[in-house]
């Protein structure tokens, strides 16, 4: 099975990291993965996006034309990528920054005021972890334990407080994804 | 019989290919003698330029690299970084160093690269047939400044020692002349100092030689030296521009 995902948002919202953690965790779970970011001026304050492919087979193309999952943290990302979601695919979006939402009815939509929830958890930086949680809750693409171990291994010594907030955000995301 | 003068060991037996009256041979000899005197022949590598002294790689009796036009300081950087146990010098003319290779010399000097650069300034492109150099004097006629160097149009000659002396890193910068036996003795001291500092790993060392080009200037060797004394030396003043070993900053 192959899952193709695009994560998009403003530069600074941590969308590249969403893809990276999903790819890293999938790799640790024995899958083939690729992670392909937009780069250059797009990274400097504009919109950023990243294509992540997770597969049981060798990945032929890392370019995602028709994502199974789109994570959109702002409205321009929905406008640009939502039309490309495969019928039956999943759109996860952040209502705090997507006032117009998405009109498609042939896909599953999950939305939450993610920026607000991140602030509520205690740090706007955990927005991307919240999104990862929603992906896990909705698709079981990766296991919570894999990413929790991953985060713990390099954050525990450096920044235990942020680690706790991150784990809390992922758990909260999983609840949103399941509901 | 007592031998009082002989060919320096640091020169090969290959005969020079320079024009009659050319001073490249003198500059080569000064460098070779200094390498001999400091006992560096087995640890020295040199980089030859493009220009009249393009065959310098055949004349110096050590491992030599022939660089692309102007790139000798970059090539020397590569050699020195690859073989920090060796000592490296470049030998360059005015077109090579002060026109096409301006970036390379300025940045090698600015890095304080541990190399010695020997720069022969005769105000003209010799090898290609007497074209204007970055150091050609105002109003001086060459094949590409047939009405004289027009400074309104093409600017003034570049004084390389003064230019490099604006940088902080270089350890030693001196301009000497090869125009008289007395000047050559002074030049020998400067070359010796550069090689000595190189041996001691002090940093970037640079010696400029004011020289002549009888062939392309269209003068006999004696007259060309007189012409250079009258015209070049007032513009390119000899002297020490930097010597950190002597507190000259």
């Amino acid at each position: 099975m192959t899952t193709e995902m695009i994560c998009a948002g403003f530069g600074g919202q941590g969308v590249l990291t969403i893809g990276k953690f999903i790819a890293q965790a999938s790799m640790k779970e024995g899958k083939n993965v690729s992670w392909l970011p937009s780069y250059g001026p797009e990274m400097r304050g504009g919109t950023a996006n990243v294509s992540t492919v997770v597969s049981d087979e060798a990945i032929a193309s890392p370019i995602v034309s028709f994502p199974d999952i789109l994570v959109a943290l702002n409205q321009p990302s929905i406008d640009k990528f939502a039309p490309m979601i495969r019928p039956g695919g999943i759109l996860i979006y952040n209502t705090s920054m997507c006032p117009n939402g998405c009109k498609r009815e042939d896909i599953t939509q999950i939305s939450a005021p993610m920026s607000d929830i991140a602030n509520e958890i205690g740090n706007p930086m955990v927005l991307n972890m919240l999104a990862i949680g929603v992906i896990i809750g909705k698709t079981a693409l990766i296991k919570y334990e894999t990413i929790a171990d991953d985060l713990t291994s390099y954050m525990k010594a450096k920044n235990p407080e942020l680690l706790e907030l991150n784990l809390k955000a992922i758990k909260r995301g999983i609840e949103i994804g399941k509901s | 019989m007592e031998i009082i003068a002989t060919r320096p060991e640091s020169l090969t037996q290959t005969p020079f290919t320079y024009c009659p009256g050319c001073l490249h041979g003198v500059a080569h000899r000064l460098i070779a003698e200094a390498i001999d005197e400091h006992g560096l022949i087995n640890k020295m590598a040199g980089v030859a330029p493009v220009g009249c002294s393009v065959f310098a790689y055949k004349f110096f009796n050590m491992d030599m690299a022939e660089a692309a036009h102007g790139r000798a300081p970059a090539v020397a950087t590569g050699i020195k970084r690859a073989r920090p146990d060796m000592h490296v010098f470049t030998y360059q003319g005015d077109g090579d160093l002060a026109a096409i290779g301006t970036a390379e010399i300025v940045h090698a000097a600015n890095r304080g690269e541990h190399i010695s650069v020997f720069f022969v300034n005769n105000a003209i492109y010799g090898m290609t047939g007497g074209q204007m150099a970055p150091t050609t004097l105002p109003d001086m006629k060459t094949t590409t400044s047939p009405y004289g160097r027009n400074t309104d149009d093409i600017g003034f000659p570049i004084r390389v020692c003064e230019l490099l002396a604006t940088l902080i890193a270089p350890y030693y910068i001196e301009r000497v002349s090869l125009l008289s036996p007395a000047d050559i003795l002074k030049a020998k001291k400067a070359v010796n100092k550069a090689i000595q500092y190189n041996k001691e790993g002090r940093g970037f060392t640079f010696v400029e030689f004011i020289s002549t080009c009888p062939t392309n200037w269209g003068m006999d060797p004696i007259k060309s030296r007189d012409w250079a004394k009258e015209n070049m030396l007032p513009f390119f003043k000899t002297g020490c521009y930097r010597d950190k070993g002597k507190g000259v900053e």
Binding site: K20, A23, Q24, M27, N32, V33, S34, W35, L36, P37, Y39, G40, I59, A60, S61, P62, I63, S65, F66 | E9, T12, I41, N42, K43, A45, V47, V54, Y57, K58, N61, M62, D63, M64, A65, E66, A67, A68, R71, A74, V75, A76, T77, G78, I79, K80, R81, A82, R83, D85, M86, A103, E104, V106, H107, R111
Partner: protein, 361 residues
């Protein structure tokens, strides 16, 4: 060793260090900046040399100097910067020095853009610099292969005393994939490697007796001497052509209706399309040249199955390698080309559409 998720730019830099590269000279340019930044971080940790040169021209000439000492040395850039290096590459080829050059291609001509492209195929495989010389050119299609090629490139460079280029692109440079590194050479091994070149390279006389005068040089002013030198280079290139053909066969069979040829990043997209069409019962094969110089002419000719009615070449340019494929096909079957340019990468869906149309013809 466990797999690590890494960008191509960083993976190839790490692999180069592991293969014994201790000298690296380069100038920043997108999309290869992670490579120079990785070297800036890591070289001091292995007592290596990193210099951010004043220009790509200076960088390649520093490579010339270090390669003249027989040491493993590398530079990297992206298309416009590679053009600047061409002077030095010609000199390095002429002087027969071993070194590795990485081109993380972007869109051109001129300043172009910074997105992935394959517009430098001609420059890499047909010349680029002046004179009769050849680069060995390796074209990776994954981060793993990009990394593996660093070691291969150094071995080839040492074996043939010839510059070797790894012709990647912005996608491979920027993309992260799992990579497993080959074991690193020990410091002792690295310290000894230059000695294979001792007979010709710049090196000191060990016991103080004058023994050698080595010339690192591409100048031969006597036409008869230069003629001999160039003919010797040509003989070397013939030897490389004989020994170093590398290509991948993908879904080749006697049932193939179309044979695709694609290299690097483009080949991955073509594979996706071939897989999709296979599910619909269509048989399409692919030959991917792994080394684009020397080029697998005979191997492509052999891959033309009995039912193949067309060879389809896909590149991220306006048609460069297709010329070589036409030579390989030698008129046996028609050769068609489709490509995208400007840093726009075609999608599997687009390739599939092209192939479907060709199947219907």
């Amino acid at each position: 060793m466990a797999k690590i998720l890494m960008k191509g730019n960083e993976a190839v830099a790490e692999a180069a260090i592991r293969s014994g590269c201790r000298l690296y000279f380069a100038y920043p340019i997108t999309p290869q900046s992670e490579l120079i930044e990785y070297m800036a971080r890591m070289m001091p940790k292995v007592d290596g040399t990193f210099i951010q040169a004043e220009s790509e021209i200076a960088a390649i000439n520093m490579v010339y100097g270090a390669a003249g000492c027989g040491k493993r040395v590398m530079t990297s850039s992206s298309s416009p910067g590679i053009s600047l290096k061409m002077e030095g590459i010609s000199y390095i080829a002429g002087a027969e020095l071993p070194c590795v050059i990485i081109n993380v291609q972007r869109g051109g001509p001129g300043l172009g853009d910074i997105q992935p492209a394959q517009g430098d195929y001609f420059q890499a495989t047909k010349g680029g610099g002046h004179g009769d010389y050849r680069l060995i050119v390796l074209a990776p299609s994954s981060v793993q292969e990009f990394a593996d090629m660093a070691a291969d490139a150094f071995d080839l460079a040492d074996k043939y005393r010839n510059p070797v280029m790894i012709l990647a692109d912005g996608m491979l440079g920027q993309m992260m994939e799992p990579v497993e590194f080959r074991p690193a050479k020990s410091d002792e091994e690295v310290a000894e490697m230059w000695k294979q070149h001792k007979s010709w390279c710049i090196n000191p006389n060990e016991d103080g007796d004058k023994k050698h005068h080595h010339e690192i040089n591409s100048l031969e002013i006597d036409p008869l001497v230069l003629e001999k030198h160039v003919n010797n280079l040509s003989k070397k290139y013939a030897e490389i052509k004989k020994n170093e053909i590398r290509y991948e066969k993908y879904e080749l069979s006697d049932d193939n209706e179309i044979l695709c040829v694609a290299w690097g990043t483009a080949s991955r997209v073509v594979k996706s399309a071939i897989n999709e069409l296979k599910k619909e019962g269509k048989s399409i094969g692919l030959v991917r040249p792994i080394n684009v110089w020397p080029f697998p002419y005979d191997e492509i000719a052999k891959a033309i199955g009995p039912k193949v009615k067309k060879i389809y070449v896909f590149e991220l340019n306006t048609g460069q390698m297709v010329d070589d494929v036409k030579i390989a096909a030698a008129g046996k079957v028609p050769v068609e080309f489709w490509g995208k340019v400007g840093g726009v990468v075609f999608t599997p869906a687009e390739i599939k559409e092209k192939l479907e149309a060709a199947l219907k013809e």
